[in-house]
Symmetry: C2
Amino acid sequence: MARAATTSDAFNAIAEPQRREILVLLRFGERPVTDLARDLGMTQPQASKHLRVLREVGLVRVRGAGRQRLYGLDARGLRPLHEWLGGFERFWSESFDRLDEYVQELRQATQEGPHDGDDQ
Amino acid sequence: MARAATTSDAFNAIAEPQRREILVLLRFGERPVTDLARDLGMTQPQASKHLRVLREVGLVRVRGAGRQRLYGLDARGLRPLHEWLGGFERFWSESFDRLDEYVQELRQATQEGPHDGDDQ
DNA sequence: CCATCGTATGCCTATATCGGAATGTGTGAC
DNA sequence: GTCACACATTCCGATATAGGCATACGATGG
């Protein structure tokens, strides 16, 4: 068997650096294919192919605007990634995450009794 | 060119579901190869190969313990993923994250003036 | 030193990728 | 209707994967 299809997963889809860059660009709004291709220094067909993959895993949506097709981000598809990663937060926050720190601060401020401890 | 090597990235390494499961198991502590293989229902050689990949991208470390080799999580390698994903938080929190909600609650409780709004 | 356990590696095949170039499809404009 | 434009799809080749199986490696114990 070969590697799993790039379209099988958000995990597989974003394994490709260029696809990640596309998603980053789309954070700033919808864009047509040619725009993306030019900004990322790739050919139009390649951009189209990458967008196809991203579409199949539900990370982007298309909207026909005249003879252009505007691609837009659908970041809900990234949630599985986020959730999976969530299980590891405690590990890489050996040097605490700013958000974590913030939460702790606030937790103290509100004088909520702590109900979870950290072990290991 | 083919797909980028699985060992080129944490992104590529975790594209494989079994590799993700290995990492999840390692959250609970160090473990020898055979253990992992059995728990995940795969052959020992496969587990070894997956662990090799994970090692090459710095997601696990090995520690020789007698004639066993204990594999342990090194979650720092997941930070690039976390950081990349961070840029999208605002998007998938259309239906708010529990943590986000919690932070907001607490923010109100502490009566901190709000200094950022959510747009979309 | 030799047997044995735990683990790593080599070889093989099928599969699917990414890149490049050319060409197909569809929409709007004149 | 035809041209031009924006985009999608196809064919090609090189590459490297994951799985299965056999086997090599390394350390420990007797």
